[in-house]
Amino acid sequence: MRSFGTPEFLFMLRATQWTVALSLIAYAGGGALGLVLAFMRVSGHRLANGVARAWILLFQCTPLLMLLFLVFFGLALAGHGQNAYFAVTVALSCYAGAYFGEIWRGAIEAVPQGQWQASAALGFSRAEQFRHVIVPQSLRIATPPTVGFMVQVVKNTSLASIIGFQELTQASQFVNNLTFQPISVYLVAAALYFILCFPLTLLSRRLEKRLHVDRPAPLAA
């Protein structure tokens, strides 16, 4: 029987690249989708708002694992074979998009109404109001929770292992099956995830302090 040594560790380290890659893909796909959803939510258009709301509610109230299964088997039904990579990409993006969309909608709506009115009074068009007045302020509000949610995405890529995608969790299961040293193997896996996630957690906390979102900004004297 093999024991847990350097080659096994390197194998897990290589699989960690896929964890990182999946996270980045989910940020890109989820970020794009989240932007669209956030805009639909604040557009003032009833149908667009309703559709985006339903999407967000649906994806925040179903387990990510079910989403993975449905996309995985749904793609197979549509004749695309059982492609774990594609399924994970689509499912993670849909999931992350729903959360990003809701975070960003909240950030946009947190900007006081008076800001819209004041910029309208200054003759800004709706797009200009958005671009020059609202977005810069909502970015401050949105950044800490966005970074915080990015941690959730990294951790949730571990579910891809269940449909057979070889990222860090799947690789550790594989190594564990070879070595039967579950404690060392899974502690190392946990440590690798921690190394990916903790800097993001710290960053989110620092941003929150620096951007003073936790307390109202002091009025200029």
Partner: protein, 223 residues
């Protein structure tokens, strides 16, 4: 694509699904109660319990919050037996979910405690309240009221996350889905039904928490 959906075989096993859903609900409620109890205790200890307790609890919270639930579950289910602690799948799932939920609850309740105005605590001290009395009569109620909405959404996430315990063969809703999938060869239909059941449970929990929040926190005066 020439696929016809056939829900018949799945719907014939609705009793099995109901059994799985019931275990999901039981596990989730138990983990929520444990999370609430330990979360409150840890949050109070972290805020009022001195340096040592603060560091220990902080480390626990960060370790849990920065690693995937799946890995935590594997450590408990596959790791503990090699230390001589054998657990059946449901026990492992319950411990894993509780440990996980408690860490998130600690952080949420702690931010509730930090939202209690310092002046109130100082005023209570000036009136010679002991620390225990301050925690009981001044801090806890407003802290939990502030924390309640976030706790509610966290608890829904705990329920949704419980689908992962199917990987250690706890026979909850998702695991029943696996069984039906292999019996009926209709994975898509099976998981649509399972997803709908999760949706129902999630909506029911949301309603329950909204109602509890209303009942416990809205009629009393503001802190």
């Amino acid at each position: 694509m020439g696929y016809t959906f056939q829900f018949g075989a799945v719907l014939a096993s609705l009793d099995l699904l109901a059994k799985g859903a019931w275990l999901t609900v039981q596990l989730s409620l138990a983990a929520m109660l444990a999370g609430l109890a330990f979360g409150t205790l840890f949050a109070v200890l972290r805020s009022f319990g001195g340096r040592g307790a603060g560091i220990a609890i902080g480390a626990y919270v960060e370790c849990i919050r920065n690693t995937p639930f799946l890995i935590q579950l594997f450590l408990i289910y596959f790791g503990l037996p090699s230390l001589g602690i054998a657990l059946d799948p449901v026990e492992a799932a319950l411990i894993g979910m509780s440990v996980n939920c408690a860490a998130y609850s600690t952080e949420i309740i702690r931010s509730g405690i930090m939202a209690v105005p310092r002046g109130q605590i100082e005023a209570a001290r000036a009136l010679a309240f002991s620390t225990t009395d301050i925690i009981r009569h001044i801090v806890l109620f407003p802290a939990l009221r502030v924390a309640a909405p976030a706790l509610g959404s966290q608890f829904v996430l705990v329920m949704l996350g419980s689908s992962v315990v199917s990987t250690v063969s706890a026979e909850e809703l998702t695991a029943v889905g696996h069984v039906l999938e292999t019996e009926t060869f209709r994975p898509f239909e099976v998981y649509i039904i399972v997803t709908l059941i999760y949706l129902l449970i999630a909506f029911a929990l949301k309603l329950l928490f909204a109602w509890l929040e209303q009942a416990w926190f809205s009629r009393r005066g503001r802190a």
